[in-house]
Symmetry: C2
């Protein structure tokens, strides 16, 4: 009797044409494409475990998942075999046999997301699917100073939307960088975990500070008051990209 093998995949995807990671009945998702490709090479219907759920339109430069198969396919052939069946906006970059107990979600120790804001009034043709166009002038220095308030362990109740089952709102942000390159502003946020829409609400709130609608110390107030309705709006999904997953 052959033992089930636990396979870990690292994938990259362009989320533009997908309704997020998680399988749904009436919409195409990345998980469905991955599971169909696994079926094509193994004839096994597996349940993949993703490191997180990503929303429709969100991208991933590095997304990790695992699944168990009976198939005797050689480890070193898995990557290319899957890529042969995947559409060109989803790519397997690594495929390994891992310990039986490896779990892509439970064992995840942290993640880094990026969020891209394009500040040119006219928007952008080339980056339209990978950024959010914000047409007003932003005070970058103010935003950078305010972003420091997020670093460390805090209650992020003000920065979560309904829709997650997380029991506690306490998370630790380990790194927060904001970089400007011409009309493009990129936010990089690393944490041990993220609440639902947390990055998008954090960026929306920093934008409120960047246009002068809120003071720099407003972040601390939001941490204390724990009231989602007082934070900024959730900026759109296409600017968001899962950059790295830590184990």
């Amino acid at each position: 009797v052959r033992e089930l093998r636990n396979i870990k995949l690292v994938i990259e995807y362009d989320g533009t044409n997908y309704s997020g990671w998680q399988r749904q009945n009436n919409a195409l998702t990345v998980q469905e494409c991955i599971e169909n490709a696994i079926y094509s090479i193994t004839k096994e219907r597996v349940d993949t475990i993703g490191c997180s759920r990503t929303d429709a339109g969100v991208h991933a430069r590095e997304f990790v998942l695992n699944f168990k198969i009976n198939s005797s396919i050689e480890e070193k052939k898995i990557k290319n075999a899957l890529n042969a069946f995947l559409p060109d906006d989803i790519i397997v970059t690594q495929a390994y046999v891992v310990d039986d107990d490896f779990h892509a979600r439970y064992h995840c120790k942290g993640k880094m997301y990026s969020y891209t804001v394009y500040t040119r009034r006219e928007g952008t043709a080339l980056f339209r699917n990978y950024s959010y166009t914000f047409k007003k002038k932003l005070d970058l220095d103010k935003m950078i100073r305010a972003s420091k308030c997020f670093i460390g362990t805090h209650d992020f109740s003000s920065f979560r939307n309904l829709g997650s089952s997380a029991k506690t709102a306490e998370r630790t942000i380990t790194d927060f960088r904001i970089e400007q390159n011409g009309d493009m502003i990129k936010f990089y946020i690393a944490a041990d975990g993220f609440l639902y829409n947390m990055v998008r609400i954090i960026v929306g709130t920093l934008i409120d500070i960047g246009i002068g609608r809120r003071e720099e110390n407003y972040i601390n107030y939001l941490m204390e008051i724990k009231d989602r309705s007082k934070a900024g709006k959730s900026v759109p999904p296409q600017g968001l990209c899962l950059e790295e997953v830590f184990y």
Copy 2:
């Protein structure tokens, strides 16, 4: 009697869904979209003059064109009016009334193109429409040294494909930079003018040097021999982007 006004536009476009700049009978082009948008706001059918022809799939971060209109539309309203009628992969970033004799092609003093090569074996999902995946290892130092041979005034007969009506093959390359960022290699080439497919053949030839198929001094040999068949292949269009146009 109102005088015709000469309008200069600067546009950005994602070339993925277009058969290049130049109007064609049976294919959608950027020029057709621009001229349709001009018709929508002026009810005038104009002939636009582009700074260059770009091939199908080629992008432009900055492309310049001009055209003459009778319409009394205010100068400052032209940009937003056109953007309202353009698809979201073509954007007007500047629109001005210019001197009557301004000609986007004849008055162009130079251009800068970029070409993006992605070197990861598995390719890229996120940059698939904006790069060429080359799966073999490239010796970047060799390519950078060889690229220096292009700088200056040379006969580029070895680096042109049939299809242009240029009378002479002499061009002056004013700047040539190669930058690496992870798996991505970007070539930036500025010149007073480019022959048909010149950038793509130059990059293809440097790749031959980067994999050791040709020696570094092969560029000088190609300049002398003036034989297209001895140069590298023309790499695919989607890696090419017109970055800047100089007047």
